[in-house]
Structure formats: structure tokens, C-alpha cells
């Protein structure tokens, strides 16, 4: 099969949580690094401590003893830790990339008598021909991506561009319906405008 493409399913919440964690870690790294540079350049430790509280935090943590941590504190820490483990464990599980082939034949029927498949290129060609039927479209290229159909077009006229794109979208959807294909979402993108040479007589 030609033009195989691999797509990766991703879970938006996992991605957002991972990004947020990386941003927090990066900001902490920049902040701590800046404090370290200040100390290395012999800025007064009191000033750096005033900015970051690093010594206050160190002294507080170094001064802790087992008696300072009460039973309720332990309970809160345990519940918080368990919740964080479950939530972040779930998000980490969902964040694992799951690649799959984006382009495969479209199965229309499958039963005990056999199956009816439509080649991916046939679906793409149906959309391309519908788009090219529009007089303002000079080139069209479709990609069937299992979940949707991407249709990139080049236009030859700048006026009524929005109407052209809307019309091409409608035509592609109608073409899928006319060929009794499932009503896929069609993503029409204008990728190029072919400008006539201004030196030519128009």
C-alpha cells in the first residue's frame, strides 16, 4: 500500500498536565540556577536568602524530627501521595504514544459473506475531483486520514475566496454522499493562491 502514514493518538489532559509539570520544573530550574549564579558571584547570602528563602527552607527541613510530624499530618501526606500517585499514574498511562496507521482502506460492509472495502485513494480522488470541478480551484490534493479527510487546495482567484472554500467544502461532502461513503469531516485548507503575472495583459 502506498503513502502509509502513522498518526499518534494523544489524550489532551495528559498532554496539558505533562506540559504544566515541565513548565513548573523549568521555572524552578531557572530560579535555582539564577540564585546559584548570584551566590557564585559573591552576592551577600542574606540577600539571596531574602530573595529565595533557601536557607530558611533548609534550616526548617534540617530541624525536623519524627516528633514534629503528627498522626494527622501523616494521614494527610498519605492520602495526598496516594491521590497524586493514582492521578498522575493514570495520566502517564494515557500519555504513552499509541501510533496507528492513519491511512487504510475504508471498510463499508463486513459479514459472513465477505467484506466490501474502498481503497483510500478512491476516497481521496472523489474529494479531489469534486474540488477541481470548481472554476476557481487550480489544484487539489486530498488525504484520507481514517477519522477525517484533509483537502488542500490552490485557488486561482483572490476574489470570493471565502465563498470558494465554503463551496469546495460542500462539494466534497456532497461527493462523499453521492458515492455512498460515510459522511467524514472534511478539512479544507487553502494552501496557495496562484497569482497571475502582473506583467501579462489581463
Amino acid at each position: 500500500m502506498f503513502r502509509q502514514r502513522v498518526r499518534i493518538r494523544s489524550f489532551a489532559l495528559s498532554r496539558a498536565a505533562a506540559d504544566a509539570l515541565v513548565v513548573i520544573f523549568a521555572l524552578a530550574l531557572v530560579w535555582a540556577g539564577a540564585m546559584l549564579v548570584l551566590l557564585a558571584f559573591k552576592v551577600a547570602p542574606d540577600t539571596v536568602n531574602g530573595l529565595s528563602g533557601y536557607r530558611i527552607a533548609y534550616d526548617y527541613l534540617a530541624g525536623l524530627s519524627p516528633q514534629d510530624i503528627s498522626a494527622s499530618t501523616r494521614l494527610v501526606a498519605a492520602i495526598g501521595g496516594l491521590t497524586a500517585c493514582l492521578v498522575f499514574g493514570y495520566l502517564a498511562w494515557r500519555a504513552i504514544p499509541r501510533p496507528y496507521l492513519a491511512r487504510s482502506d475504508l471498510r463499508l460492509i463486513s459479514d459472513e459473506h465477505g467484506s466490501v472495502d474502498v481503497d483510500a485513494r478512491a476516497v481521496e480522488r472523489a474529494a479531489e475531483i469534486a474540488a477541481l470541478a470548481h472554476p476557481a480551484v487550480s489544484a487539489a490534493r486530498a488525504r484520507y486520514l481514517t477519522d477525517d479527510l484533509a483537502l488542500d487546495i490552490s485557488a486561482s482567484r483572490a476574489d470570493a475566496l471565502a465563498a470558494t472554500l465554503q463551496d469546495v467544502h460542500e462539494r466534497a461532502r456532497d461527493s462523499l454522499a453521492r458515492h455512498q461513503l460515510p459522511p467524514l469531516p472534511v478539512n479544507v485548507t487553502l494552501v496557495r493562491l496562484e497569482r497571475p503575472n502582473r506583467r501579462d495583459l489581463q
Binding site: 506540559d19 515541565v22 513548565v23 520544573f25 523549568a26 521555572l27 524552578a28 530550574l29 531557572v30 535555582a32 540556577g33 539564577a34 540564585m35 546559584l36 549564579v37 548570584l38 551566590l39 557564585a40 558571584f41 559573591k42 547570602p45 542574606d46 536557607r55 477525517d148 479527510l149 485557488a155 483572490a158 476574489d159 470570493a160 475566496l161 471565502a162 465563498a163 472554500l165 465554503q166 467544502h169 461532502r173 467524514l184 469531516p185 472534511v186 478539512n187 479544507v188 485548507t189 487553502l190 494552501v191 496557495r192 493562491l193 497569482r195 502582473r198 506583467r199
Partner: protein
């Protein structure tokens, strides 16, 4: 060997230690910036979206939209040449369009600007673009077509 408790206010690091600390600190800052850049400036194709719903999306690449704006802007008789740049919004539909119309020194700049604005109005409205228009006189010796 640990330093005495009270030393941290007064102790000055030895030169080699300070050098290593400075390098480590600068490295941490650099790595942090790199991580931030990687997360926040992730490369992705940005499109000017006109419509998006269950039936699909209708969108345009910013460069193609800029070409369309230039073509429309140059249709005015007063405009010698035009330059345009379309910038999509981060989320949702629409974006911004900056159009510069170059006109002859002898002609009226306001007229050229308003003529260009009229030409691109329909395009801007259909793509929900905010238009910023400037009129300029081309530099001496610059190409005008």
C-alpha cells in the same frame, strides 16, 4: 566535612568552587530556558480558521491569505504595490492582517489606503481578520511591480 551552622552568612566560596557553582547555575538556567522553549514554542502548523464544526474545518494558510490580500490590495488604481502578512489567532477562528499599500508620491496616501481597505474588506470579514493598514511611498529606485 560540613561547615559550621553560622558560617553561611560570612563564608565566601573559594575561587574554583565559585567557578563550578557559576557554571552549574548558568547550566541550570540554560536547561530551564530550553525546556520552556520546547514546551511553549512547539512547532505546529498554524492556520487561519474560518469555520470549524462537526462537518470539518475551513481554513487557510497565512501565506496564501497574505497573497490574496496583496492581489486584492493591488487592484486599486492608486496602489503601486502591496505587502501583506496574515497572523492567525492561537485558538479559535480569525486573526490579524497587516497590509502595506505603496502609492505614488503624487497620489493621495489616504485614498490609496481606503481603496485597499475596501478591496480586502470582504476577505477580512469572512475570515474574521482585524485589518491594520498602512500607506507608504516606495523608496527611491525601488521596484513597483
Amino acid at each position: 566535612v560540613s561547615a559550621p551552622e553560622s558560617c553561611w552568612r560570612t563564608c565566601k566560596p573559594a575561587a574554583p568552587v565559585a567557578k563550578v557553582a557559576a557554571l552549574a547555575g548558568a547550566g541550570a538556567v540554560g536547561f530551564g530556558m530550553l525546556l520552556l522553549f520546547g514546551v511553549l514554542a512547539r512547532g505546529r502548523e498554524r492556520l487561519v480558521v474560518m469555520r470549524s464544526d462537526d462537518a470539518g474545518t475551513v481554513a487557510a494558510r497565512p501565506r496564501a491569505l497574505g497573497q490574496a490580500a496583496v492581489t486584492l490590495g493591488e487592484q486599486s488604481r492608486d496602489v503601486l504595490r502591496a505587502k501583506a502578512k496574515a497572523t492567525p489567532k492561537r485558538h479559535g477562528t480569525g486573526g490579524r492582517l497587516r497590509l502595506t499599500a505603496y502609492h505614488a508620491q503624487s497620489s493621495d496616501g489616504t485614498g490609496a489606503a481606503s481603496a485597499s481597505r475596501d478591496r480586502v474588506r470582504a476577505l477580512a470579514e469572512s475570515f474574521s481578520l482585524g485589518v491594520r493598514l498602512r500607506s507608504r511611498v516606495p523608496r527611491r529606485g525601488a521596484r513597483v511591480s
